[in-house]
């Protein structure tokens, strides 16, 4: 069967995009001592057929793109999701006036992939 693939510009392919979360924007700057914000990033983009190695696809995702190319309505493309995240530490006051340093995993998107 013949399939049609619309050409994808590099910008529409799944990858990590820059997102700076400023705690002032969400109104938390008055109790979070540090950092004032951090580069959280996010994943966005398409996972097209054929899935190249740079898109970090699983075997399942490779097959899903194949099925999607044959049945675009019935089977969606794989999702563009974070596959490597890193932690962030935050310093804040709690409601008892204690200063707390807390380490949070999975706060920064380092790498995205098709899953």
């Amino acid at each position: 069967r013949s399939t049609f693939h619309a050409p994808l510009t590099p910008s529409s392919v799944c990858r990590a995009r820059r997102l700076y979360v400023d705690f002032r924007d969400v109104g938390w700057h008055d109790w979070i001592i540090a950092p004032q914000g951090y580069m959280a990033n996010y994943c966005h983009g398409e996972c097209p057929f054929p899935l190249s190695e740079s898109l970090n696809g699983t075997n399942h995702a490779i097959l899903q793109t194949l099925v999607h190319s044959l049945d675009p309505v019935g089977t969606p493309q794989p999702c563009c999701v974070p596959i490597r995240l890193s932690p962030v530490s935050m310093l804040y006051y709690d409601n008892n006036d204690n200063v707390v340093l807390r380490h949070y995993q999975d706060m920064v998107v380092d790498e995205c992939g098709c899953r």
């Binding site: 001592i33 932690p87 962030v88 530490s89 310093l91 006051y93 709690d94 204690n98 200063v99 340093l101």
Partner: protein
């Protein structure tokens, strides 16, 4: 509505932060009142930034050599030091650390008491000649003193040592992990009593226990409890 959705999302995030609600927006007021972030915590924060970038083990607090992802400087709520009820030449300071701020799921790895004494400045010559020192005793309070027993009967000694008077502040550290674990249970926290005894009849001696400058409102004794805990739900193994 989007606003309700946002509130709901915020509650979820605050819950993950270990907070039941958004803390009071009073950071500026706290800082104005002299409530600064302890320098040790700043250092750890800066180091953790670098460690994260370097990919080191995230749920270990290297500074204390224990597992944990939460480090709290728990405020002492025991009030200021005053004359002791048990002896004339003693000063007494009650210490109380509210350990109920830890969530039940948290595993306490370390509770380290740090007490800093701010002495009245002494002339160096005087200091060298007399080698002045005070005896410091720390007691665990085992029952509420409101029940009629004498304060002494409700105390169990934890530490007794001599501390030399010197021009700068002196610090004393003690591991109180087991005791602080007990303080997490409801109704089990009666705190500590710190007693300072001047082992000399010299009337000028007790004057050295006064703060550097009363107008600075510095307490003679400053205490904090560093509590390191681990929330196992927030610290997964790298080998999962």
């Amino acid at each position: 509505s989007p606003a309700e959705e946002m509130k709901s999302q915020e509650r979820l995030f605050l819950s993950a932060l270990g907070l039941s609600e958004r803390p009071r927006p009073a950071a500026a007021a706290r800082q104005a009142a002299g409530r600064r972030v302890p320098s040790a915590l700043w250092r750890m924060f800066r180091r953790s930034d670098g460690a994260e970038a370097g990919g080191s083990e995230p749920c270990t607090v290297n500074e204390y050599g224990v597992r944990g992802n939460i480090i709290r400087f728990v405020q002492d709520q025991g009030g200021s030091a005053g004359p002791s009820s048990s002896c004339d030449s003693c000063l007494e300071k009650q210490l109380f650390f509210n350990m109920s701020v830890l969530q039940p799921v948290e595993l306490l790895s370390l509770a380290q008491l740090e007490v800093t004494f701010h002495w009245k400045p002494l002339r160096p010559a005087e200091l060298l000649q007399n080698q002045r020192s005070v005896s410091v005793s720390l007691y665990r309070v085992i029952r509420s003193t409101l029940r009629g027993a004498s304060p002494q009967a409700n105390r169990r000694p934890l530490l007794s040592q001599t501390v030399k008077l010197q021009p700068g502040p002196t610090s004393l550290k003690m591991d109180l992990t087991a005791l602080a674990e007990g303080w997490r249970k409801p109704g089990r926290n009666y705190g500590l009593v710190l007693e300072l005894l001047a082992p000399s009849a010299d009337p000028s001696y007790s004057a050295n226990l006064l703060p550097v400058d009363p107008t600075l409102a510095l307490p003679l004794v400053r205490a904090s409890l560093v509590a390191v805990s681990l929330n196992p739900h927030q610290c997964r193994s790298r080998q999962r």
